[in-house]
Symmetry: C2
Subunit: 114 residues, 2 copies
Amino acid sequence: MALTPVEAVACCLPLNREPLSQEAAERIVPMLKALADPVRLRLLSLVASHEGGEACVCDLNDAFELSQPTISHHLKVLHGAGLLEREKRGVWVYYRSSPSAMSSLAALISDTTT
Amino acid sequence: MALTPVEAVACCLPLNREPLSQEAAERIVPMLKALADPVRLRLLSLVASHEGGEACVCDLNDAFELSQPTISHHLKVLHGAGLLEREKRGVWVYYRSSPSAMSSLAALISDTTT
């Protein structure tokens, strides 16, 4: 059963291309807030770099000296911000990074300085 | 007189390349925290997209319905996180986005999904 991810965010031009609108900023900020935490940033990276681009909670618990409920809380925040998609298969929930969220962030912060 | 910017952050591989280390996460998170605010995100974009890639406070005050001290506060936070560099010329302070900070963020969040 696929759980409903947050609606895809269609966003953005690079920050240095043109001034970001208030509307675009307000769509992006929740993602940045969710990412602005060392555990969540590492969790997202663990999921995104995991074999096949997905990981279940069972793959993630060993990576942190944190309780399983704490890990689940952080995963929920990442999912709530649209950064992680999740799908229940059997007894486990599998996570993968949201391609549309990652594309939006990458477009916004793309390095056009080089 | 060039004011000293925060030390350049040499960082990171894409999030989906390999699990981000705790050390790397802790270097990146202050930048994400600084960005995770609609006014600051728009300020950074205004500076980065301004003619010549730099802007003085005089160019920024009109873009927001905020007091000049509030704008200055947000610019200080962006500078403190290493996202903006600043230089005093004459009576004005000029800001530009930090190439190394933007490169680090772009590398981390580069879109390797396409």
